[in-house]
């Protein structure tokens, strides 16, 4: 497994800690434009993902994006993964909170 460039688990509000760094997050697609996808983060903030998604993104699917956080609400995506329609955002949100808080030492 390539651990050369680890990405931190973030949700909408945690992105600002990693500006310029590689992050990963899951968003629920709200809409898409040419060259970007607008989504809702697991803590209900708006995130803009720049880049081109692999398939046409239908609203309400969950996508995981890994990329560089450009500012506190946008990511320049490198890797996209479709997580499907059934995804529990609450759990993911809790994971992000734990991964950046108390258990940070367990992650990168």
């Amino acid at each position: 497994m390539d651990t050369s460039s680890p990405s931190a688990f973030v949700n909408g509000s945690l992105m600002r800690r990693y500006i310029g760094q590689k992050v990963r997050t899951v968003i629920q697609v709200v809409g898409s434009d040419v060259g970007s996808v607008v989504g809702k983060s697991t803590d209900d903030l708006q995130i803009i993902v720049k880049g081109s998604p692999p398939t046409t993104t239908t609203p309400s699917t969950y996508l995981e994006v890994i990329g560089i956080a450009e500012n506190e609400n946008s990511i320049r995506a490198e890797v996209w993964t479709n997580f499907g329609n059934s995804f529990d955002p609450v759990n993911y949100n809790e994971l992000c909170k734990l991964a950046n808080g108390e258990f940070k030492h367990l992650f990168i």
Binding site: D88, N91, E94, E102, H105
Partner: protein, 758 residues
């Protein structure tokens, strides 16, 4: 002199025309005084009075500031006063005049008026000894101390008497001579003839006017001397008890009067002896001189705030003439359909047709004693049926009677009084100590039920509310595998039911199923192992029969593992099918009949490392001499990651709140820990191991897991699977159980970020 009093004032007070001094300041005569101490304010004395307006009486209370008037003798029996400041309040449905301010118009006066209308319920039986009256005779003062005065407040009977008699109201000898004037009996209901025993007393005699009967519902602790006429509806056994104050015995019985009032009566010790034999259910009695106290709602389910205690001074007099006005029993039947929505543990009456009844069984109570239990199904017009359970002696008395009625093809009507609603798999009704069962009662409702049953009830479908929800009896108790050993699950009397989230590591391939007996035993197949007769038939020992075709049932021995530990479990048919994805018979055929080894191996391999939620029954069993804890799979479910994650999140939270000390982690039963972590602290710092990693124990953070530390040797920097001490043994040993050290070691591979405790 009669004009002085405000005639009709009391009538107006009663019908609420007059409620306070703002409406009117009536002039009344004080006819009786009584000093008492309120329970709530023991230091304060209050004076109760009886006021008259010339025709009627009403009870009143003097404000504390007025007490001195009585003490100084300014206010006494016979005084005429004007109510300058008062209010009327209603207590226990009686009007009481609470006087804050008054003006004494005349201190002494003869009793005025011709009291035709008898005072209402509670105005008699007062302890109206006049304490402050200096003209008290000795006997008068001796009465005051007594609880229950024998002096009947001569309600109404005062009117036509010469004043001198009433003045010497406290003179008991006068009372003897006087015959109660017949016209002035307060007649609420039938008047029983004055019982002779009341009239022949000695010189210290009390004023023995005939008892005034009041309704049970009017009883309250402030009623002075009262008498009730009631029928005994139920009688309890004589019980012996032992408490801090010593031994005692008690029995109680319930009463019902003509107004439908009910009250429980208890008799202790000497009174119990005295009265126990005299009380017979169904008889009418007159009771007086009892004590009233608040009812113990826990045991007393009658609709009365009070209960009576009789002592040796109380009197019970049987009424030999029947009184049709007083029913034998009062019921408040609820329909079975209502029971569904009623609260568990509430007490109800119910009536229905017995559709079936089972024989008596014996149950062992928690206390170790045995008791009888018998259940039946009761149906009624609501289209519902309920299970009624009777306990103890009911089983053999009413229970037996019902059984014989049912056996002979009948469907008797059963009325239950004071049954308790219980809940287990729906609602049911059980008998309690004070319950009563009536078989084929002579009631309107019983007749109606019988008619309904004949018409349609017999064949009408009835939904049972008693076993409708055969719900989840057991709450899902989530455990980790290591907890089975740690918490010694299964070793107590009853088996433990737990749920684990685990992966199947290994499955024993030989004997994954057995040949089972297919013969139906009731509604379940026998399933015992059948032996091969050799000629193609199979013999079942239990059924003692031979069959040509046997069933194949799974008996899978599986090894389960989760992040904390390993265990062996056995899965039977239903769970087996879920895990294997095919029936035991099919799998058997694949292996043995078709001899398709490859396919068989394929199937087996798929099973390995599949993760499920297992519901296990854990119980310690003794094989020969050794007791071993065995686990059986009761149910297999696919893992729902979402809910599982939530559970883990909850557990993390719990961990957090329990504090971050290492002790808390280790002791946390919610998640389970790998047991052997302690050594890590004992080791010297700066251990360097095979991997060349310098690690210092001092640097190991406290709380919430930390750097990877090995369970086996306690060093940090690696985990047990990679531990230099055990590595050589562990590697490559996946299947076949065997030499796993400690609990919590991983099966293999490089575990990432192994947090010592979750």
């Amino acid at each position: 002199m009669g004009e002085i009093l405000t005639a009709g004032a009391i009538e107006m007070i009663r019908n609420e025309t007059v409620n306070s001094h703002e409406d009117m300041k009536p002039v009344m005569q004080l006819t009786e005084l009584k000093l008492f101490t309120a329970q709530q304010e023991p230091s304060k004395e209050r004076i109760r009075v009886l006021l008259s307006d010339g025709t009627a009486f009403i009870q009143g209370m003097l404000g504390i500031t007025l007490n001195h008037l009585v003490k100084d003798g300014v206010l006494q029996a016979g005084s005429i006063l004007r109510l300058d400041h008062f209010v009327c309040s209603e207590i226990q449905k009686k009007k009481i005049v609470v006087i804050a301010q008054l003006e004494v118009i005349a201190t002494k006066s003869d009793i005025i008026g011709d009291h035709v209308r008898p005072p209402r319920k509670a105005e008699h039986g007062g302890d109206y000894g006049n304490k402050s009256n200096t003209s008290n005779t000795e006997t008068g003062t001796s009465h005051v101390g007594q609880q229950r005065q024998q002096q009947v407040f001569g309600s109404g009977s005062n009117s036509s008497l010469p004043p001198s008699v009433t003045r010497s109201y406290s003179n008991p000898s006068a009372g003897l001579v006087r015959d109660p004037p017949p016209t002035t009996y307060p007649l609420h209901r039938q008047q029983p003839p004055p019982p002779p025993m009341y009239q022949n007393r000695g010189p210290v005699a009390r004023n023995e006017a005939p008892p005034v009967i009041i309704p049970i519902n009017a009883l309250n602790p402030y009623s002075g001397r009262w008498t009730i006429k009631a029928r005994v509806t139920s009688k309890g056994d004589l019980r012996r008890y032992n408490n801090q104050r010593g031994d005692g015995k008690v029995f109680s019985f319930d009463l019902l009067d003509a107004d439908g009032g009910e009250i429980r009566v208890a008799c202790f010790n000497a009174a119990a002896d005295q009265f126990f034999d005299r009380i017979v259910v169904g008889n009418l009695y007159l009771f007086s001189r009892g004590n009233l106290r608040p009812a113990q709602k826990k045991f007393n389910h009658l609709p009365n705030d009070y209960e009576i205690t009789l002592d040796t001074a109380s009197t019970i007099q049987q009424c030999y003439e029947e009184d049709a006005a007083i029913p034998k029993n009062l019921y408040n039947f609820r329909s079975i359909g209502d029971i569904e929505s009623m609260e568990t543990n509430s007490i109800i009456d119910v009536i229905g047709v017995v559709s079936s009844i089972s024989p008596t069984g014996t149950i062992m109570k928690k206390t170790g004693t045995e008791t009888q239990k018998r259940s039946l199904q009761l149906k009624d017009m609501s289209g519902r049926s309920v299970e009624v359970t009777m306990w103890g002696s009911f089983c053999n008395t009413e229970g037996q009677r019902l059984q014989s009625l049912c056996d002979s093809g009948g469907f008797p009507v059963l009325a239950v009084k004071a049954g308790r609603i219980s809940e287990f798999n729906g609602k049911a009704v059980s008998t309690i100590g004070s319950s009563q069962l009536f078989v084929e009662p002579d009631l309107v409702e019983a007749r109606k039920l019988k008619e309904w049953f004949e018409r349609e009830g017999r064949s009408a479908p009835c939904i049972s509310i008693s076993r409708e929800f055969s719900g989840n009896g057991r709450v899902d108790v989530r455990k980790t595998i290591s907890q089975i050993k740690d918490e010694k699950l299964g070793t107590s009397e009853k088996p433990d039911w737990i749920t684990v989230n685990a992966t199947i590591i290994y499955m024993k391939v030989d004997n994954f199923c057995y040949t089972a007996c297919p013969i139906m035993n009731g509604d379940r197949p026998c399933n015992k192992k059948v032996t091969d007769n050799g000629d193609g038939t199979w013999r079942c020992e239990k059924c003692d029969k031979c069959v040509d075709e046997c069933d194949y049932r799974y008996i899978l021995q599986l090894q389960l593992q989760d992040h904390t530990g390993l265990t062996w479990v056995t899965a039977f048919q239903e769970a087996g099918e879920e895990i294997m994805g095919m029936t035991a018979k099919d799998l058997y055929y694949v292996k043995h009949e078709h001899n398709d080894e490859e396919k068989f191996e394929d199937i087996i391999r798929k099973v390995a490392f599949s993760k499920y939620i297992f519901k296990l029954k854990v119980k310690e069993e003794t094989y020969g001499d050794e007791p071993t804890v065995k686990a059986t799979v009761v149910k297999v479910d696919k893992v729902n990651y979402s809910s599982d994650t939530r559970m883990i999140l909850g557990a993390i939270d719990k961990l957090r709140t329990e504090g971050s000390s290492y002790g808390a982690e280790a002791g946390n039963s919610g998640i389970g820990t790998s047991g052997t972590r302690d050594p890590s602290f004992g080791l010297p710092a700066n251990q360097s191991d095979q991997y060349g990693n310098q690690s210092s124990n001092g640097g190991r953070p406290h709380g919430g897991g930390g750097a990877t530390s090995c369970d086996v040797c306690g060093n940090t920097g690696h985990v047990s699977a990679n531990c230099p001490n055990t590595r050589s043994e562990n590697q490559g040993q996946y299947m076949g159980g065997g030499s796993y050290r400690g609990s919590g070691s991983y099966g293999g591979g490089v575990p990432r970020q192994h947090a010592g405790s979750y």
